[in-house]
Each structure stands twice: as C-alpha cells, then as structure tokens.
Symmetry: C2
Subunit: 288 residues, 2 copies
C-alpha cells in the first residue's frame, strides 16, 4: 500500500521504454504478490499515455492471469485496436519474466451529451459516523498498514447492518477515499480509482456464508475486473462503494457495485468475479 | 437472423485456417452490418476450439470496435494468454478487411465446487401468458424476420408492466429461447447464448426516457458485452432476461441483467454498455 498521496502518484508514473511500451516500478511492499489494483491502475496509465487527452476513459474490462512478483517491475505493452472519431480502444498486456500477469482492454470516448438517469444512492450514515476498521483491529489512527487508504464500514448483510434482501443475497457498503490530496488532473483520479476499486469487493460475496472479508476462512483471488466510469470525481473525497452479490458457485463469486459521491451522484459502476476457495485443511463452514 | 436451429448451428461452425486462426462465414442477412451477437458467438467458438474441453467457459468480456461487413467472412485470431491448472484464458481479435471489428477475452475454468448463493428470480407470468411482439406488429406466427428467435415481453418500466423503482430507473423483462432443438453439446448452448444475449438489452436503458427498443427515436450501438456463465442451461428452453439500467449519460447507457431458467435457477449474468444517441434531425424528446 502506498504510504501517502505522493507515493500513489509516484506508483502511477510509468517509465516509457518505447512507443506503446512502459515499465511500472514497484514500491516496498509487505505483500507476497502484486496487489491487483496496482496492476489495473498502472495498465490504465499505460493505455492513457497512448491516447489523445481529448478522449476520456469510460470503461475497462480486465483479467488477472498470474500472481505478480513484487520484486520485479511490470512491463505494459499497449496495442491500438481502435482509433475512431468518437472512441479510442487499447489492449494492454502486463507481463513479468516473459509471462502475462494481467490483460486489460480500455475504451476512451470523446465527451458527448445524451439521455441521463442514475440509480439513486442508498441512505447511509456519513463516514464520520461509520466504523473505522482500525478501531476494530485495535490499531492506531496512523497505522502504516493502511497507508494512503481510508475506509469506513457503512453496513453489511453479514452483521445485520443491512437487512436481508432475497434479490441481493450478499451486500456490503463501505466509504473509501485516498488520504491527503491528489493532483487535480482528472486522469490521476481515474487511475487511482482503478487502484482502490479492487479493494473490499468480495466481502459482499462472502457475507451470505458468514465470512468476513480478509478472513482466513476463504482463499480469495480476483479473476476479472470491470469499471464503467460514469462521471469525473475526486478519489481523495469520500465515495460510497455499494456492493451486492447476485451469485456464488463453482468456486466463484460475482459482485456488482455502484460508486456514489457523498452528494449521491453515481460516478462509476464496478463488477468483479473472484475465485472463492475453502482452505484445503478441513474446517467447519461458518454459515449458510 | 438464422432461420432455424440448424442454421444457427451452421453459423457457429467455423472453418479452421491454421492453429488459433479461424474463419466465420456469413449467412444471407437483411442487416446493413453484422449483428453483434454473431461476432460474439463466433468468437466464443474460436476461443473454445483452442481450449481443452475439460475447461468450461465461465466468463467473457468484449468490445465492439467497428461495424462488421455482412458480405465478407470474419477472421478470428486467437491468442493464449493463460494455460493454467485451473484456468485457461484466450484473447480473440475478430477482423475484416485487415481491420479489428471485435475484441473478446474469454476465461475457461476446470469445474470445481464452492459456496453457493443466487439472486431469487422475480415473479413473472409464464411465457405462454406474455405478449408476443409479432402480435403487436401484426406479423404472422411464422414471420421469417424472427427466424430462430422466440421472444415474449414479460414487462417493462416504460409501459407500467413493472412498477417504478428508484434503485433501478429502467427495467425490462423478456422471455427468450431458440426455436426448435439445438444439439445437446453444452458448448453449443454457451455460444448460442452469446448470440442471443446481445438482443433487447438497451430497452431497459431507454425505458426511463419513454423510448421503446428498436424505435427510430434512438440510435443504439453496443459498445461492450460481458457474460458470466453461472451454470449450464439449454438455450432452446425458455429463459428470462431480467434487465435493469443503473445509469445513462454522456451518450451511453449501462444495463446489468440476470438470466433465469423457468424453474428460477440463475444461470448467467450479462452486462452491456451501449452508445445511445439522439438522431441528428431535431426532434422532440419523448419522455423524461
């Protein structure tokens, strides 16, 4: 986890090797493998570096292919598959040691106007009234483990904070923001959102089974990751990550989510499927 | 539209040019451009041809890049980006006249077991009691325009058949099936579902604006298309396509959907964003 906003900005600043070829450097990490959100954010930056800034990233779809090695830089190879009047599309293959670890396709659009509607934001307590997980874990406010990420739990179907809903068997809501201040450049916020968006999602898929996000009762690995960017927003202001899981089965769990700013504006949607495995050692299942 | 099940099976039977290189042939079409579902289905077949049948397709993400030419075959170039113990991943680039028209990434999994939950199916009238659009259009039951596709409207937030819901501003439900009988091979049903899944979705995004799917009041073009396959199912039995739209703006509309078989089993989820443009000639907007 980058320690602060400056550290995150540095992580997003790729080295150009050649046209359409970039190198992303690692930071000191306690993780055994590269955090998925880092690969996604750096790939977004690589794609964006090859696109006319008049085009804005409106969606991405990606797959995590292999665990990334935190001791080696990541190479990002960008391929132009559309250069149109309205849309520009890039495929990015991220690799280490000659092997693909992450594949992204990203679509950029020249801004235009059209019909507008949005799902209304749920009514939740403001972040100041929500549980800080550091308190739960008995950590100090400035615990370095959390680095640039600030998080507050706004409710989950696991602990009764959200009423059960048969249309959405698993639900979780968290407030998130980058600590400190990021530069005003909107593309920094787009890439930073890709970074943070790989956090917490599977809590919604595990909730129906009585398992907390991060618990050793489940082995979790992101499989795919999709973002639809609806409107520009600041990642260093609080945003609500409203998540629900329509399905789990076959060792996988799917989560759809909506991202609202504090004033209720819907600014992004994120979908992710992850591998959800029971640990190999026999162990009693904790819930339904 | 393929005339019948045999015609659809023929459309899905690609010619092998070389290892990982395939050619999809066109059928007689009244459409000015290749139907997106055809590109998706043929690309799924191309990817599947290169994967050990012990692995089952569990998800795909794709972008429509350029209108396809119905008078030329489509070339499908398959690239292996993961060949793992549990997962096999392929990128497929579809091209015509040397230009990419469609890009797909597909992920196959060796079946395993895990936690299970699913969103409960909505209560809707059975297909026999739902509106056949052919009746609405004054077409005979065997009108050739519909070919292998059977469709029944089960409700929309446009016409009052579904109550308004601020959490889902636009909603639409349709029953769909392939007419006749497809072969039992589960992969034929996976590819056929990719074909049909590009139908009707944007009705949910246009409903809040008082516009019917297929109306000349909106210019619609699919941008991306994602499918999560949850469980095997037959495409020639009725399935309910339950669609809602959380967002429209910037000339785009996003629709999430769930696919349930008639017994309520959740078998797939589909997400699509499309370009939704007002026609160029000035015209009164029909709704909100």
């Amino acid at each position: 986890m980058p320690r602060d906003a400056a550290d995150l900005v540095e992580l997003l600043d790729l080295e150009t090797i050649d046209t359409n070829l970039f190198r992303g450097h690692q930071q000191v990490s306690s993780l055994p493998r590269v955090f998925g959100g880092q690969a996604a954010a750096q790939a977004v930056v690589a794609a964006g570096r090859t696109v006319d800034p008049a085009y804005v990233l409106h969606s991405l779809h990606s797959y995590f292919l292999q665990p990334g090695d935190t001791s080696a830089p990541i190479i990002f190879d960008v391929e132009t598959i559309r250069e149109g009047r309205s849309f520009a599309t890039r495929r990015v293959l991220a690799r280490q040691h000659g092997r693909p670890i992450y594949a992204l396709t990203a679509d950029f659009q020249r801004p235009e106007e059209g019909w507008e509607h949005q799902q209304v934001a749920p009514v939740v307590p403001p972040p100041e009234e929500c549980l800080d997980p550091k308190k739960l874990l008995g950590q100090p406010d400035d615990d370095p483990e959390w680095g640039v990420m600030e998080l507050r739990y706004a409710g989950s179907s696991l602990d009764g904070g959200l009423e059960p809903d048969e249309a959405r068997p698993g639900r979780q809501r968290v407030w998130l923001r980058a600590k400190g201040t990021l530069p005003d450049d909107p593309f920094v916020h787009v890439a930073a959102f890709a970074f943070f968006s790989d956090m917490t999602l599977m809590g919604a898929a595990l909730a129906p089974h009585g398992i907390r996000s991060g618990s050793p009762e489940a082995m979790v690995a992101s499989l795919d990751h999709s973002i639809w960017f609806h409107r520009p927003f600041r990642v260093d202001d609080w945003w609500l990550y409203d998540q629900d899981s329509p399905f789990a089965g076959g060792g996988r769990g799917l989560v759809h989510s909506r991202v609202h700013t504090a004033d209720g504006t819907l600014v992004a949607s994120v979908s992710q499927e992850a591998l959800l495995r029971k640990p190999r050692a026999p162990r009693q299942e904790a819930g339904a």
